[in-house]
C-alpha cells in the first residue's frame, strides 16, 4: 500500500514539456481583438457602430479621393477627365485647382518674383525664436530676436530700410537713457527713457528718416498692403499680434495682480471687456470705428488697424495665461525676492517673470493657435484670408466656378498641419518644463 502510495505520489516530470502556443483565443490578433474590441457586449456594440460609421465615411470619400485629378485647366475639363476615366457617374476630386492656384492661397497677390521675401521672413522667425525655445542656443542670438520685428516688417512691406531703422532707434535711445540713469534714479530713468523714445518717434524720426533717405535710399521694392493675402496675411497678423500683445499682456497681468486699486480695476476692466466680446466686433471696430477715435483725417492701412485690434484682443488672453503662470509660482519665490531687498521691478525682472513666463509658454502657444485660426475672420472686413477670401477669389474666375470641397480641404489641411504641429510642440514643452520643476 505504502509502495503504491509512494508510487502514485512520487511523480516527477524529468523532461520539459515542449512549449505550446497559448490557446487560439488567448493569443495573437484574436486575443488583441477580444481585449480591445469585443470585451463585453457594450464594447462589441461600440465597435460595430464604429465600423459602420467608418465604412460609410470611407465608402463616400475613398472613391472621391482615388479619382482625383491633378492636371486640368478648368473645372469642366476636370469633370470630363473623371467621366472619361471612371465612367459618367463617377465622382472625383479636382485638385487641379490647388495645383494651379496654390501660390495664391499661400501668398495672396504678393508679387510673384518677391515670394522669397515672406519665405525668408518665416525662416528668420524661427531663428529669432530659437533662444526662447531651445535652451542650448547662445544668448547672443537674443540681439537678433530684438531686431527681428523691424527686419520682418522691412522684408514684408519693403520700402526704405531707414523706416524700420528709425523705429528701432527710438527703442535704442530709450534703452541708452535708461542705462545711464538706472544707477541712481531707476524710476526716473524709466520715465526719461519713455519720454525720449516718444519724442523721437513723434517729432524727430520723420525728418531724420527723410534726411537719410535722401542720402542713401537703401530701398527694396515696396509691396502694398492690398497685395497681402492667404497664409502670408494670416501669419503676418497672427505673429505680429502675438509679438505686440506679449508686453501688453505682461503689463496687464501684473496690473491685475497689483495692490493698487486703480491699476487693478483698469486692468480687470480691460481684460474682461475684451474677453467678453466676439473678435468679429473688434474687427468691425477696426474697420468702421477706429477712424472715429483718431484725430480727423488720420487714416492708415486696414491691415495695421486689424493688427492693432487683434493685438489688444490677444493681450487680454495672454494676460490671463501669464496670470496663471504668476499664480503657479510658489509663494516662496516672492518672499525670497523680498528678503533679498529687491524692489518691485527688480523682483519682477530677475525672479518672478522669468519663471512665470517659462511656465506660460505652452499657454501662449495655445493662444497663438487660437489666434491663428481666428485670423480667417478678417475676410469680414474685406481682407483676403486664405479660407474664404482667396477661395472666393479663385471661384470668381469662370474656370473654377462651382468648386467647393477641394479648396476647403486644401486650406483646412494646411491649418491642421500648422495647428496640430504647434499643439504637439506645446505639449512637448509642457512635459519638458514639468521635468525641470521636479
Amino acid at each position: 500500500m505504502s509502495d503504491t502510495d509512494a508510487q502514485s505520489v512520487f511523480f516527477m516530470r524529468d523532461t520539459m514539456l515542449p512549449q505550446v502556443p497559448p490557446p487560439a483565443g488567448q493569443s495573437g490578433p484574436v486575443r488583441w481583438l477580444r481585449e480591445n474590441l469585443f470585451s463585453g457586449w457594450f464594447n462589441t456594440i461600440l465597435t460595430i457602430c464604429g465600423l459602420i460609421a467608418l465604412y460609410f465615411l470611407l465608402r463616400g470619400l475613398l472613391p472621391w479621393f482615388a479619382h482625383s485629378v491633378w492636371t486640368a485647366d478648368t473645372l469642366s475639363e476636370c469633370r470630363q477627365i473623371i467621366a472619361a476615366k471612371w465612367g459618367p457617374d463617377a465622382t472625383g476630386a479636382c485638385f487641379a485647382v490647388v495645383r494651379e492656384r496654390w501660390t495664391q492661397w499661400l501668398f495672396g497677390f504678393y508679387p510673384r518674383h518677391l515670394y522669397w521675401r515672406p519665405v525668408l521672413t518665416l525662416v528668420l522667425m524661427f531663428v529669432a525664436m530659437a533662444p526662447v525655445l531651445f535652451p542650448g542656443v547662445p544668448r547672443k542670438l537674443m540681439i537678433f530676436s530684438a531686431i527681428y520685428p523691424f527686419l520682418g516688417f522691412w522684408l514684408l512691406w519693403g520700402g526704405s530700410a531707414w523706416v524700420p531703422l528709425g523705429g528701432m532707434a527710438g527703442f535704442v535711445l530709450g534703452y541708452i537713457a535708461w542705462r545711464v540713469l538706472r544707477e541712481n534714479r531707476p524710476l526716473v530713468g524709466i520715465l526719461v527713457a519713455v519720454v525720449i523714445a516718444l519724442l523721437w518717434w513723434l517729432l524727430l524720426a520723420g525728418p531724420v528718416i527723410d534726411l537719410f533717405r535722401s542720402i542713401a535710399p537703401l530701398a527694396i521694392e515696396s509691396v502694398r498692403s492690398d497685395r497681402f493675402g492667404g497664409f502670408v496675411l494670416s501669419l503676418t497678423i497672427g505673429v505680429a499680434a502675438i509679438a505686440i500683445s506679449l508686453p501688453l499682456g505682461i503689463a496687464l497681468a501684473l496690473g491685475r495682480q497689483s495692490d493698487m486699486f486703480l491699476i487693478k480695476t483698469l486692468s480687470v476692466g480691460f481684460i474682461e471687456f475684451i474677453r467678453g466680446v466676439p473678435l468679429i466686433t473688434l474687427l468691425f471696430t477696426a474697420s468702421l470705428l477706429l477712424n472715429y477715435f483718431l484725430p480727423p483725417g488720420t487714416n492708415f492701412d486696414i491691415i495695421l488697424r486689424v493688427i492693432i485690434m487683434v493685438s489688444l484682443f490677444a493681450a487680454a488672453y495672454i494676460a490671463e495665461v501669464i496670470r496663471g503662470g504668476l499664480a503657479a509660482l510658489p509663494r516662496g519665490q516672492y518672499e525670497a525676492a523680498d528678503s533679498l531687498g529687491l524692489d518691485y521691478f527688480q523682483a519682477q525682472r530677475l525672479i518672478v517673470l522669468p519663471q512665470a513666463l517659462k511656465i506660460s509658454i505652452p499657454g501662449i502657444v495655445s493662444v497663438f493657435i487660437g489666434l491663428f485660426k481666428d485670423t480667417t475672420l478678417v475676410i469680414f472686413v474685406g481682407l483676403l484670408d486664405p479660407l474664404k477670401g482667396i477661395t472666393d477669389a479663385v471661384r470668381a474666375s469662370i474656370d473654377w466656378k462651382g468648386i467647393y470641397w477641394e479648396p476647403y480641404i486644401f486650406v483646412g489641411s494646411i491649418f491642421f498641419l500648422f495647428c496640430f504641429g504647434m499643439s504637439r510642440y506645446s505639449m512637448y514643452l509642457e512635459r519638458r518644463l514639468k521635468r525641470d520643476h521636479r
Binding site: R101, W201, F380
Partner: protein
C-alpha cells in the same frame, strides 16, 4: 505722406500721421494714386483676375478719374468693399471715391454724408428664376424663397414689393454676389434678386445661362453711380465731370481711336472745349487743360467702355436700354461743357 502715415502707426497709433487735408484732390496728388472702393467680385463691373489686375465697368471709371487727375490710368488702388462697409470706408477717408454699383437715394445722399456724382448705370431690381420652375412673372412668386444681399437697397425694395402685392416670401440673407450665385444654383432659393445688370452678369457666368430667365418685372429704380465724401465739392466735381466727359465724348463721337486726331483738327467748339484745345475748363476744377482727353484715352468713351465690359459682345450681354444716349432714346445726358 504714405510713409509718414505708415510710420506714425507703428510709433504712436497714428499720432505722427500726416493729417489728411480737407481736399481729396491734394491728397490724391500727394499720394500719387487714387484709392477706389469697388465691388469685390461682380463679373463685368469689377473683378480681379488671377494676377490681381482689376477690370470692369466700374473699374474703368476709376481709371478714367485717375488718368484725369494723375495722368496715368494705372495709378489706382482698388479696395474691395462689401455692401456693408462701403459707405463707412468712404466717410472715413479710407477710399477717395466709391464706384461700386451703389444706388443713389435720398437718405444716402443726405444722411450718410455722401455726395453722388451722377449716374453711370441706370438699373432696376429684377428677379432671376430657374426656367424649370415655370414662373413667368414676379407676381407668381408668392411663398417663394428669395436670395438677397444684405446691406443694400434691394432688401427694402423687396419687402415693399411683396407687401404691396400682398404676397409672402422667405428671405435668405447672403453676403456677396458669389454667395448668392452659389445658393441660387444649388437651389437653396427659388429666385435671386438684385439689380438687373447684376443678374445678367451673374447669369452670364453660369454653365448653362439659358436655363435661367430674368423676370420682366423691374420693381425699383436703381440709378447706380459713383460717390464721394460730403463737403468736398471740388473733388465731387472732378468725378462728376469725368463721368460727364465720358458720356459727352460718346455723344460727340470722340473715341479712343480718333481722339488724337480730333484734338488737333476738330472744328466742333464743344469737342474743342472738351479736349482742352479751347478754353481751359480743367483749371476750374483744379486740373490741367487736357484732363478729359486723358480720361477718355484710357478706356475710350462711355459707349466703348460699356461694350468692352458689359455690352452685347461680352458674355454679360447687356443691351444699352436706358443707358443709351438721350439722342438714341436713352437717359444719358451730359450737361454742356462750357
Amino acid at each position: 505722406m504714405k510713409k509718414t502715415v505708415f510710420f506714425g502707426t507703428l510709433t504712436a497709433a497714428g499720432l505722427a500721421a500726416g493729417l489728411a487735408s480737407a481736399a481729396t484732390l491734394d491728397d490724391v496728388k500727394a499720394r500719387g494714386e487714387l484709392v477706389c472702393g469697388v465691388n469685390p467680385g461682380l463679373t463685368g463691373f469689377a473683378a480681379p483676375d488671377a494676377n490681381g489686375t482689376w477690370t470692369g465697368f466700374d473699374i474703368s471709371l476709376c481709371r478714367a478719374v485717375a488718368a484725369a487727375v494723375l495722368g496715368d490710368g494705372t495709378k489706382v488702388r482698388f479696395v474691395p468693399t462689401t455692401a456693408e462697409t462701403r459707405f463707412t470706408a468712404l466717410a472715413s477717408g479710407e477710399i477717395d471715391m466709391l464706384a461700386r454699383n451703389s444706388t443713389w437715394t435720398f437718405s444716402r445722399d443726405t444722411d450718410l454724408a455722401l455726395d453722388f456724382a451722377g449716374v453711370n448705370y441706370y438699373d432696376g431690381q429684377g428677379f432671376m428664376v430657374n426656367k424649370a420652375l415655370g414662373v413667368t412673372s414676379a407676381k407668381e412668386l408668392d411663398g417663394a424663397t428669395i436670395c438677397i444681399q444684405t446691406g443694400t437697397t434691394t432688401e427694402l425694395n423687396l419687402a415693399d414689393y411683396f407687401a404691396i402685392n400682398n404676397m409672402s416670401y422667405t428671405p435668405v440673407a447672403i453676403q456677396s454676389n458669389a454667395e448668392g450665385e452659389q445658393q441660387y444654383l444649388a437651389g437653396a432659393c427659388d429666385a435671386y434678386t438684385t439689380d438687373a445688370s447684376g443678374l445678367a452678369a451673374t447669369r452670364a457666368a453660369f454653365a448653362t445661362p439659358s436655363d435661367h430667365i430674368i423676370l420682366p418685372e423691374i420693381i425699383s429704380k436703381e440709378p447706380l453711380g459713383p460717390a464721394t465724401r460730403q463737403g468736398d465739392s471740388q473733388w465731387n466735381d472732378i468725378v462728376r465731370w469725368t463721368l460727364n466727359a465720358l458720356v459727352a465724348a460718346e455723344e460727340y463721337g470722340v473715341t479712343s481711336a480718333n481722339i488724337e486726331e480730333l484734338a488737333t483738327n476738330s472744328q466742333n467748339p464743344e469737342v474743342k472745349r472738351l479736349l482742352g484745345t479751347e478754353n481751359n475748363l480743367g483749371a476750374m476744377i483744379g486740373l490741367d487743360a487736357d484732363w478729359a482727353k486723358r480720361a477718355i484715352s484710357v478706356g475710350g468713351n462711355y459707349g466703348e467702355i460699356f461694350s468692352a465690359t458689359i455690352g452685347e459682345s461680352t458674355p454679360i450681354g447687356l443691351a444699352r436700354g436706358l443707358n443709351a444716349q438721350w439722342t438714341q432714346g436713352g437717359l444719358l445726358y451730359a450737361p454742356p461743357f462750357r
